[in-house]
Symmetry: C2
Subunit: 589 residues, 2 copies
């Protein structure tokens, strides 16, 4: 099965739906113009198809291995990483002064989508490196930037995030790893970290670990957490690699998926590290990495969904079973209406999630670069609101769509050797890491909704109103019908938002939090439907096939997800009440 990046869909989504043209001419994006999109996506598509996809199933079968010399990546991964590095892909959206190409993050997202779709295990390595780059860009000293950024941006070194400890998962503040000051201004880091993605490997020269730890005098909880940079090999003043630091991978987790991505137990035994940012402000620094990582994990949902769709579509064209009107002999199962419904569901949901993620990326770019203060503020609000939705809605979608893709394969889908089965296993991690989807929902209704007193959601609802007006103004019956469904969906989201804002203000927030996940799901559906409606409207100036495709996807999404939206409000406003009141009988608490 060859993954073929949906370059036209991606470019169309970036340009006509996510708002990439808004970035042209802004400071920081001098290197960017729209003509770059197609050649970049095409080149990345080749890397994904020709280099990464062929290693996806072999990497799953072989996995990464822990040896006496550390972790060995699955066969072929080192060579593939070399091609990724040489292509300059790591620095795509990094400022040129640090060796990057100064292109929009939103464009880099599309490239990362291809990489994840072709090989999610591989994609996790640059995903984490990018987080480290972001943390250094925002919080590193000039000296730190000069020492570490060029090699990270070039892809010579990779990065990791070290948060989790056995007793400190979602509750990062419970961590115990210690950082004791050395005399030279460095720190001795000691402790054990678990679930460290690409925590060790042999595909790059050095690994820059960003590690959360606690200073001797640190207050308890999350306010006593600091961020440290701890390289695998210490870096000499001339930039060459020096002594091996006292840290190592002492175990690899046996996971149900992403086998080629080494998930390490890391032991820091007085390892030398340097403080990044202020003491006890590590969580804020970590959130810089985390926000970027959350959006990128959301994109993994899109990527796995797209891969699952392509695999299932190909299988449905090849597998013949049963008779169908108008087809001689056994018909490809694609001819069965039920199979096409499944494929349409997959494709519409992938398209909606892609638009949400790309739009979040454009908002992040604008939040950095917009020259107008108000525009920058609005973009930041959009980015903040869309991030938990991009993460949670897209990754839940990825699991659902991977499961649908497996189903289309029938019995073959349950076999380990089938790519669809691997995607089902791989997809399942994304709703968990970088903050579980439950945490995302709490972040959405807490910091993002209640924390802005609803301003960010009002902005998005305003965007939706504009989309409805534009669709209706076409007077095209199908678009008008879609707009009507979107209207009902937006009204439902507005109603749920009002309820949620009130509930969050009350003393007992459990009532609000009991509806948080259902609220995020509704918001994702409506915002996703909004983007698909915008796409169908914009596609009127495209070729017939693009028009028909976008209309069909928006129409299907409108008749399913958007039509269901109003009925989902009671699950948010009333559903929680039933189990909170029944909590004693149900759970004994």
């Amino acid at each position: 099965m060859a993954y073929e990046a949906p370059i036209n869909d991606m470019a169309f989504t970036l340009q006509a739906v996510a708002g990439l043209p808004k970035l042209e001419g802004l400071p920081g994006f001098e290197a960017y113009d729209a003509d770059l999109i197609a050649p970049i996506l095409e080149e990345a598509g080749k890397l994904a198809r020709d280099v990464l996809a062929p290693l996806n199933q072999s990497g799953d079968a072989a996995g990464a291995q822990l040896t006496e010399d550390g972790v060995k990546a699955a066969p072929g991964f080192a060579e593939a990483y070399a091609q990724f590095r040489e292509g300059g892909w790591m620095g795509l959206s990094v400022p040129e002064e640090w060796g990057g190409q100064g292109l929009p993050k939103a464009l880099a997202l599309a490239v990362m989508e291809m990489i994840h779709a072709a090989n999610m295990s591989f994609g996790l390595c640059p995903l984490l490196s990018f987080g480290a780059i972001e943390a250094l860009l925002h919080h590193g000293t000039d000296a730190q930037k000069q020492t570490y950024l060029p090699n990270l941006v070039a892809g010579n070194w990779t990065g990791t995030m070290n948060l989790t400890e056995p007793q400190a998962g979602s509750d990062v503040g419970a961590l115990k790893t210690k950082a004791v000051p050395n005399e030279d201004g460095s720190y001795a880091i000691s402790g054990q970290k678990i679930f460290i993605t690409w925590g060790d490997h042999d595909i790059a020269e050095n690994i820059i670990h960003l590690v959360l730890a606690r200073l001797p005098d640190a207050p308890a909880g999350s306010r006593g957490v600091s961020l440290f940079l701890v390289p695998k090999f210490l870096v000499n003043e001339d930039g060459s690699l020096g002594a091996r630091n006292s840290l190592k991978c002492i175990g690899l987790e046996k996971k149900i998926g992403i086998h080629a991505s080494p998930t390490c137990v890391m032991e820091y035994d007085g390892a030398t590290g340097w403080l990044i940012g202020e003491a006890n402000k590590g969580l804020a620094c970590m959130f810089t990495m985390m926000n970027s990582a959350r959006l990128n994990v959301g994109l993994e949902g899109v990527a796995v969904g797209e891969a699952a769709y392509q695999t299932a579509f190909e299988y449905a064209q090849e597998r013949k079973q049963g008779k169908v009107q108008g087809v001689d002999g056994p018909a490809p199962i694609l001819h069965h209406a039920d199979v096409r419904r499944t494929l349409t569901t997959m494709r519409a949901r992938v398209a909606a999630a892609r638009a949400i993620c790309y739009a979040c990326g454009v908002a992040a770019d604008l939040a950095d670069a917009a020259t107008d203060e108000q525009a920058r503020h609005a973009a930041k609000l959009r980015e903040d609101l869309l991030t938990p939705i991009a993460k949670a809605w897209s990754t839940d979608m990825g699991v659902e769509v991977a499961s649908l893709g497996l189903q289309i394969h029938g019995g073959m889908g349950f076999m380990n050797e089938t790519l669809a089965a691997q995607l089902y296993r791989d997809a399942r991690i994304a709703p968990i890491y970088e903050g579980t989807n439950g945490i995302q929902a709490i972040d959405l209704v807490g910091r993002k909704l209640s924390g802005t007193n609803g301003e960010s959601m009002r902005l998005i609802l305003g965007d939706i109103d504009a989309t409805i007006r534009e669709a209706r103004a076409t007077n095209e019956p199908q678009l008008v019908q879609i707009a009507d469904r979107l209207r009902a969906g937006a009204d439902a989201l507005r109603e749920a938002t009002g309820w949620m804002l009130t509930a969050m203000k009350e003393r007992d927030q459990d009532k609000a939090l009991a509806g948080a996940t259902a609220y995020l799901a509704l918001a994702g559906d409506v915002i996703g439907g909004h983007f698909l409606t915008r796409a169908a409207t914009a596609a009127r100036s495209s070729d017939t096939a693009t028009r028909a495709r976008n209309l069909a996807l928006a129409g299907f999404f409108a008749e399913t997800a958007l039509a269901e939206a109003p009925g989902r409000v009671p699950g948010i406003t009333e559903g929680g009440q039933t189990f909170l009141e029944g909590s004693e009988a149900l759970f004994g608490i």
Copy 2:
């Protein structure tokens, strides 16, 4: 993690929801009275908890192995099977004249649920044996029954179903295995069958394969398929085991789940077999096995869902993370409202599916035993209609709930060693085998709905009306509110049913079939909600805890699934249109 059968829930569902009391005193059930329920469920619960559950994860890790002497079951499975056999569990619902206990199938379902919940890989062996018993009971000659039934019913021998060939999956009629008449009235069976569950093993003395094959003069397609009984060891006239038949397992599939259930590639090389039922009527005979198997597979969804719930609930009580109002120090994650929402979703959906499956079982019992012709007819209609819903809705639910259970485990849920991860992998087969859920949806709107001109669904809608009246008559505000939601759900189902009946009559059935899966999902939600409403109403005469629990589950289901039901009608009636019209642009056909 110890599985503890929810005996009270099961007994309550059988008695107060599924209608088991209707069977008392009917011919064939002389051996049954309600006092038997509790001791039988308790005894089965011990087998599940003490014998089968402890082998679930070890069986997953070890798997079944193909050796030169055939397939070896995972360690401990032979001993566990011996205990199952000695307990007489195989014959629970088989007529006493064949060595069974003459109890209702519905009661046997509850027992099978426990077995699947404790160890789905194990449960598949009796599931298939039971199918073989049913086929022989209905289609075997007296001599065949006498030769094979006593040992099958005693559990000394096990049974299999051999349908699938590489080119003949859902389209069974495409199979190529040959049956050539021998001179002594037997047949020489030759061909290869794939995906044969427990096709070979070492936990019982003999294996009775039921094999679909084609006679030399058979018409093409499904009308030329006959059913043959092909034992692993031929049976001598005195009942002792004779020569090894020329058939063997030549390969085991490597699957993502149910590792301890050997999924065999079977080779029949002129193996001796005997015709069961009439020549070329094999499909009808196979459907006898299949209908029983479909309901039992639906039950697997319930079982895995229950196991996932118990595992997640236990984890949520133990795992401490984060602070919660009113709890000192780190709180068990059960105290987070979002976790309780997930657990409530799981529990409500499992309860709804259990009720659907048990009610289908009671209908099957009544369809056999009711003395009144009209009651028998009505029961048969209910059984037929509920079977595809029990199979598809419950198994989709099983996958969804297993995924939710994994999510509650956070990062640990993604580890192979975690039971939640195994359940996620195991659950995924159930929507596929015994007719994919897409096939179930087509069966529902075709044979079951359109084929009875809607009579069967009208019966169920009448049942729902009665439930609404009873709930409203209590004047209890919460029950009245639930009844109102059920009313709206039932109206939605009625509307969708009317549309579907009309669409099925039209020449182009694609429009109807494009909505089949969405229709089945809606029907399952509404019928599930109906049973939960009935449970909450009936529980008013139970203890306070039972009352509160049933009310909370019915209330939550009403505010979510039932409240969403009306909004799902457009997905059935309009959704298909969008992708059928866009089919050229979307799929090139």
